[in-house]
């Protein structure tokens, strides 16, 4: 994993330096103002998200497109071709079950009692009856999955999302959620180091790297989003808006006390 991270950094720096070169304008003809411009509209701006680093983010968005295209998706496609659907589902189940640890720590951080119990119940059930997460009997018992992470925990306790940020490989995020990702990874490696499940094998490093690599492949396999697939020229903004809103809404800041549910519903 460390090796692959260095590679990513290297490609990253390369991309940034290349975009720098490409930014030199080669337009020689004089620009003429367009027929319609933003100044003629007296309306609120909409679907907008704070994005002071848009130039960087758009480069990164493009980098991810190429990273997917030339590296990750070919690997994912071969995996999907080789592994039977049954095996793919078991592997996804395994990683989703590991993710319950993150869900649990964060629902605890948010002091959500019922949710923590549910998540713990899911983890215990699926780890035992579900054979280490390969199967998901917990859902059929009515224990629903609650996705949590430290970014949401920060949001829950009132931290603002901060500027939009597109991360290499991980994709759309925000300053706050990037911090959250670092904390979640830290906790995870802390736990892993403490229990060191493969310590006795003598190949702990190799096994852990294998598990981590497979996790990246499985995560991309579970995610159907493809950069630029919509062909819509404003796709970057749609992705930015939906990602930001989904995080904002799901991190669930408490509502002002005065508001009343009836007030938001339309009269029939």
């Amino acid at each position: 994993m460390t090796v692959s991270r260095y590679t990513v950094c290297l490609i990253l720096m390369l991309t940034i330096s290349l975009t720098g070169c490409a930014a030199i304008r080669d337009s020689t003809r004089a620009e003429v103002p367009p027929r319609h411009s933003i100044n003629e509209f007296r309306d609120q701006r909409f679907a907008e998200v704070a994005d002071p680093w848009e130039g960087f983010n758009r480069s990164m968005y493009r980098f991810n497109y190429y990273f997917d295209k030339y590296l990750l998706l070919p690997v994912v496609n071969s995996y999907e071709f080789v592994a039977p659907v049954f095996v793919q589902e078991r592997i996804s189940g395994f990683y989703n079950n590991l993710g319950e640890v993150r869900n649990l720590t964060n629902s605890l951080f948010q002091l959500k009692g019922m949710e923590s119990v549910t998540t713990l119940g899911r983890f215990v059930t699926n780890s035992t009856l579900g054979l280490g997460g390969l199967f998901d009997p917990a859902t059929s018992f009515g224990l629903e999955r609650h996705n949590q992470d430290f970014g949401k925990t920060l949001g829950y306790w009132g931290a603002d999302s901060g500027p939009y940020l597109v991360l290499p490989v991980f994709g759309p995020s925000s300053l706050r959620d990037t911090g959250g990702l670092v904390v979640d990874s830290g906790i995870r490696y802390g736990i892993l180091a403490a229990i060191d499940p493969f310590g006795s094998t003598g190949n702990s490093l190799a096994i852990n790297s294998g598990i981590n690599t497979m996790e990246v492949v499985d995560a991309r396999h579970q995610q159907s989003f493809r950069y630029y697939e919509s062909g819509y020229p404003f796709e970057y903004y749609m992705v930015r808006f939906f990602n930001h809103q989904k995080r904002e809404i799901e991190s669930g800041k408490p509502l002002p006390e005065k508001s009343d549910k009836a007030a938001i519903l339309s009269p029939p």
Binding site: R25, R35, D43, R62, N147, E229, Y232, P233
Partner: protein, 423 residues
């Protein structure tokens, strides 16, 4: 949450049942036209399709040496999705509706249905979709039915050439929905001259009779919002805040189907607000078309003439500007002037009339290959246009009592009708 979903489905299935006795035996559950258009078909009422389908995406170089500006660096050619049988079978082309790509969800459902029925399938993006404008439109200005049909025909020819060596084809069929349905009629007409495919049958699903008329009615949906379409930003922000407040009250697990259904079962949005949301979706779609066309033609409509946009340049203000333009703005200031320059003497009325099925009525009446499937409450048709379809196509016009615009396209009975039509 499971209960909520069950409750919702129960409501959907039970409520029309009482009406069914006096009704027509049609099981599509959503009564309102706007609601059906937004909600589509509940997942349980969509037929099940095989999980494994042999498909691949075709990326076609339809117009050789097409110059593409750097902002569209990701566009490598016209994208079509191709599903193939390993035996001799008919090949059906499917054309997406306004703004739809070759992988639009409704188009993919149709692809699976036809694949299951034993067809080779090729899906095509709508000529109003950016990918088509950039890679397959000769004029780069979408909206003229005759030219768009010629572009589609060229694209089909290229797609067919690409796959002809790999599959065994017995005959050709054609089907499209919404704008794609109207275009299918013009494509079929062109084929009578070119004789390349000799389409056996052509089905138009929720077609528009007059493009100008249909778009007028979609634009009217936006008039319902306070302040009209020029205040769509205010409307959008208000709808968004209702959406997020509703979520926080509801103890939902995440923004998923259940949550979206709950919005409608609990009536979060009024009828007018739902109409406004449909209109706004149309505008956001249209914005992509206007922007792409303007960049490709360098006509200086929303982007300064001669500006070369780079992949990392911010284009958000162009989004805001383009989405505030109505179809009428596009028509009067961009589309009509473009064709007027090329066809001297073309009046606006002539042009509007040419964008209609009525302009090829003689052909449509003379050919037995056509069929229509649409709904009584599809808001893109007036009552007289609906009668016109009945009169032109007679028994080959299947008109369902409800479903709005495309809401029931994926409903099992409609899918069955669609597939059987080509038998």
């Amino acid at each position: 949450m499971k209960y909520l979903r069950l409750l919702f489905i129960a409501c959907l299935i039970l409520s029309p049942l009482s009406a069914l006795a006096a009704d027509d035996g049609y099981g599509y559950p959503i009564q309102g036209s706007n609601e059906a258009t937004i909600l589509g078909t509940p997942a349980t009422l969509i037929p099940k399709f095989p999980a494994a389908i042999s498909t691949r995406q075709l990326v076609l170089d339809v117009i050789p040496d097409r110059q593409k500006p750097p902002i569209f660096f990701y566009d490598e050619g016209l994208r079509c999705t191709f599903a193939y049988q390993d035996k001799k079978a008919p090949l059906i082309f499917l054309i997406a509706g306004a703004g739809g790509s070759d992988r639009a969800p409704k188009l993919l459902t149709m692809m699976k249905a036809f694949y299951q029925a034993g067809y080779h399938v090729i899906t095509l993006p709508s000529p109003s979709h950016s990918n088509f404008i950039i890679s397959a439109s000769q004029s780069r200005v979408p909206g003229d039915l005759t030219e768009d049909a010629a572009d589609l025909y060229r694209a089909m020819e290229a797609a067919w050439k690409r796959v002809a060596g790999d599959i065994d084809v017995s005959s050709f069929d054609l089907c499209g929905y919404s704008l794609g349905a109207t275009q299918a009629a013009f494509v079929a007409k062109l084929d009578e001259d070119r004789q390349l495919f000799n389409f056996r049958k052509v089905l138009m699903i929720n077609p528009s009779v007059s493009l100008y008329g249909s778009v007028t009615r979609i634009e009217e949906l936006l008039k319902q919002i306070p302040g009209g379409a020029k205040k769509q930003g205010v409307f959008f922000n208000k709808m968004l805040s209702k959406f997020s407040q509703f979520y926080r009250y509801g103890n939902f697990v995440s923004i998923n189907d259940e949550f979206l259904y709950a919005i409608y079962t609990e009536g979060l949005y009024s009828h007018d607000e739902t109409a406004g949301l449909i209109g706004l979706t149309f505008r956001i779609n249209l914005a992509g078309m206007i922007f792409s066309s303007d960049v490709m033609t360098n006509r200086g409509y929303v982007v300064p003439k001669n500006r070369i946009l780079r992949p990392t340049d911010s284009i958000f203000d162009y989004f805001l500007v383009s989405s505030h333009l109505s179809f009428f703005d596009y028509f009067n200031e961009y589309l009509y002037p473009y064709f007027q320059e090329r066809r001297p003497g073309l009046t606006k009325q002539d042009f509007i009339e040419s964008l209609s099925l009525r302009s090829i009525e003689g052909y449509l009446k003379s050919s037995a290959k056509f069929g229509v499937m649409t709904n009584e409450n599809d808001f893109i048709l007036t009552q007289s246009e609906l009668n016109y379809l009945r009169q032109v196509f007679g028994e080959r016009a299947k008109i369902y009592p409800r479903g709005g615009h495309l809401g029931n396209l994926e409903y099992q009975e409609n899918i069955a009708y669609m597939v059987n039509f080509f038998k």
